[in-house]
Amino acid sequence: MAFLEVNNIKKSFGRTEVLTDISFSLEKGEVLAIIGSSGSGKTTLLRCINFLEAPQKGIISVGGEVLFDGDDPSKKKEKEIRKNRLHFGMVFQQFNLFPQYTVFENLILAPQLMAKEQIKANGEYMGAKTYKEAQEKIKAEADRLLKKVGLTEKKDSYPCDLSGGQQQRVAIARALALNPDVLCFDEPTSALDPELTGEVLNVIKGLKSTDSTMIVVTHEIGFARDVADKIIFMDNGVIEEEGTPQEVIENPKSRRTREFLSRFNQFGD
């Protein structure tokens, strides 16, 4: 069984079916890129995996543990969803940093709340027995992550004082602070000026070497080719084609994939 298993996901909004029977799997440390035109269901799929949308049908499991089952109401309880969400991290297209907190505070807010809660309930958070001890760990981890995304000197800045690329790098560090099993990116560079996409893509590339399992929804075909171990091309709510970058991008079998890619090639990407 693969590390992440997504089976037969079905999602519709009212009468509009957005995802029709989506299944894929991913091994630990692998990077999956999901490409496809707007409205093909890529973002909805990612939101289903993060439980921001509830699919009508399907099963999602990580490391053999079933986190979501469309037929099992007990998996849809808010408390259960909240716990299971922690297996996944999410980086949004619009960054969604908390504007009233500094970069550093953005990173430590959620882990601190989590530590308080877990120490109260289980007497422990990531090996720390007291809140004070946990806080030191959390702060050290935040410092390490800021260094990793190259923003140590922006630690005390507010999001409004950062460029879009810097904000997105903070968002990546913030998602990593809770140490998720799978990190998801929803078009992480689509809201950025072209000259700022490089710094964000480089950070994501850097994460690959530290064997994070990642799912990236992207329009950057070149990036997908360079970084992904596996590519899914989605069209109209189904997986039209799936395989290695060589298979999907260099030698696409499906006509729809070829049409989609040719539009990118026209612009020399």
Binding site: N50, F51, A175
Partner: protein, 217 residues
């Protein structure tokens, strides 16, 4: 000159009633308004309908009328066995209800203006609904609603004089007593009290706005 001081002291005594009415209304209506705003945003339709109807009725009728209703209806309904202990309590109840309705709409506007992405970012970071509200959303809401809130609060200062309609001994009531005795200028002089109070409030709001100016968005 002695008359001037005499009048000033009398008016000041009246004005303490306005201040008390203002303070109590603010203290009670600010949290009550928040609760009503949650009700009018609720996905539970009956609760939402009740809250929105309440807001419609309160905003749709004059505060003066509401003062009469709160003061006269309870004794009429109970054959005189229940009435508010004093006129001031009745005025406070009417003001609290009225201002809570207005505040609730300001809160609702503020809360609904926060982008959905802020909530989603909180959710994917494993935060609970209440953690997201208190740690992420609330301060952003406060920053956004300060201008409309200050408007409403300044209006409240002046509205307190309406309480004289049920004979609360507030500043305009005192001034009017002077007028009846043939002394007209104290009526106009009351404006100074309101101006000074509102001026101080304006400075306070400007200070808070500046305090929250450290971030944008």
């Amino acid at each position: 000159m002695e008359q001037f001081w005499n009048v000033t002291l009398q008016l000041l005594e009246g004005f303490t009633q306005n201040c008390a009415l203002f303070g109590v209304t603010l203290l009670a209506a600010l949290p009550l308004g928040l609760i009503i705003s949650f009700g009018s945003m609720s996905r539970f339709i009956p609760l939402k309908a009740v809250c929105r109807t309440f807001v419609w009725i309160i905003r749709g009728t004059p505060l003066l009328l509401q003062l009469f209703v709160v003061y006269y209806i309870p004794p009429m309904m109970t054959n005189g066995s229940f009435r508010f202990g004093d006129r001031m309590s009745a005025a406070m109840i009417a003001f609290i209800i009225n201002y809570a309705a207005y505040f609730s709409e300001i809160y609702r506007g503020g809360i609904e203006s926060i982008p959905k992405g802020q909530y989603e970012a909180g959710y994917v970071l494993g935060m609970t609904k209440s953690q997201i509200f208190f740690k992420v959303v609330l301060l952003q809401v406060i920053k956004r609603i300060i201008p409309p809130m200050s408007n409403e609060i300044i209006t409240l200062v002046k509205d307190t004089s309406l309480a004289r309609i049920i004979l609360v001994e507030e500043i305009l009531k005192f001034a009017d007593d002077f007028r009846v005795q043939g002394l007209i200028w104290p009526v106009f002089y009351t404006g100074v009290f309101f101006l000074l109070f509102c001026g101080a409030l304006t400075l306070l709001f400007r200070f808070i706005e500046r305090k929250l100016d450290y971030y944008k968005g």
